[in-house]
Amino acid sequence: MSAPLDVEALKEEFLFKVFDEKTFSFSGQALADYAIACGETASRYTDPADADFQAPPTIATSLQPGQRMPKGFPKVAGLGMDAGKAVSPKAPIRPDVELLGKSHMQDIYTKTGRSGRMVFFVIRMEVFDPSGTEVASADTSVVIREKPSV
């Protein structure tokens, strides 16, 4: 059995360091299609002709970095699962604007449960418009259930 992860060492080495940058741009129709697929009905999300047309706030959670984990991040033994997403919309995302997504490891923490120790990795992508304004951030959490010692 592999040794338990040294969480403090991982935090020291990897937290808050940008490990990926990727650009995104969406046409008005693509944003409207996304909104309709999500069940949105408000015209500011579904109608590109709307004067206040913008992406639904959840869109930041669908942006994927080019690289999911920092270079050199150790392979973790155990069962990995999606542990949820959280989005913080900060300004409207408009169509045909080049967005820059910068990803970093925001947190690494542990908890215990029926199945033993679990390690959570929270990867945050901060999304900026061309003026450098942060328009959203999205957290993606991944949990690794370490193999129980008993």
Binding site: T110, K111, T112, G113, R114, S115, G116, R117
Partner: protein, 212 residues
């Protein structure tokens, strides 16, 4: 007075319920409790003030914490700033003896929760670590218990002469009030909750069958 002594809000990493929604659920569904205690995981929430919500819904809303020790998870009631400086609430390898000692030093009460649960309940660790000193109360009814976990908790409590409390361990709105604790005293503050727990004038309740 009946309080659910174990609930989590979105302040906990796995909590999915807003406190306001707990209040709305209790009121609209006539959940038979007079309030609840938010025991967020591995932290004490100093920043939230629920007094307006409490007043609006005529509920008692208090705050505590749930920390993690070698005996499993432990509720702490009566948390103060000095107590949070005694040990790192986010540490998942705390010593129960240290938590109990710190709680006693600062006028708080430590209560092992879901003690019948595998790995994170006290009962599972007694054989390895022995009966801990300083524990007088355990959570005998937990709303998240599966199978016979509450029976294991009650059997352990009977054997070791512990008193029992009840808490829902709610992480979602509809689970609030599944288990609770009836007090003879009226409780409107964390200090009064600690006093009521120390008085021994309480009993654990479960409403799980009613909710099913």
């Amino acid at each position: 007075m009946i309080l659910d002594l174990h609930a989590h809000s979105i302040k906990s990493d796995d909590g999915r319920a807003k406190v306001q929604n707990y209040c709305q659920w209790i009121t609209t569904r006539n959940v038979p409790i007079d309030g609840f205690v938010l025991t967020e995981h591995r932290q004490f929430d100093f920043e939230s003030d629920y007094s307006e919500l409490a007043q609006k819904f005529n509920l008692t809303i208090l705050k505590g914490a749930e920390v993690e020790t070698e005996y499993g998870h432990v509720l702490v009631f009566g948390v103060t700033k000095p107590l949070t400086e005694e040990f790192d609430f986010s540490n998942i390898t705390l010593k129960l003896a240290d938590v109990v000692a710190a709680a006693n030093k600062h006028g708080a009460v430590a209560v092992p929760c879901h003690p019948g649960r595998v790995r994170v309940g006290m009962s599972a660790h007694i054989e390895e670590h022995g009966v801990p000193e300083g524990v007088h109360i355990v959570e005998t009814f937990n709303g998240g218990s599966r199978g016979n976990e509450d029976d294991i908790a009650q059997t352990m409590a009977d054997k070791l002469s512990y008193q029992g409390i009840g808490g829902s361990d709610a992480h979602i709105v509809s689970h609030i009030g599944r288990c609770a604790t009836r007090f003879s005293a009226v409780i409107n503050s964390e200090l009064e909750l600690v006093a009521a727990l120390k008085s021994g004038e309480f009993e654990a309740l479960t409403f799980k069958e009613d909710a099913a």
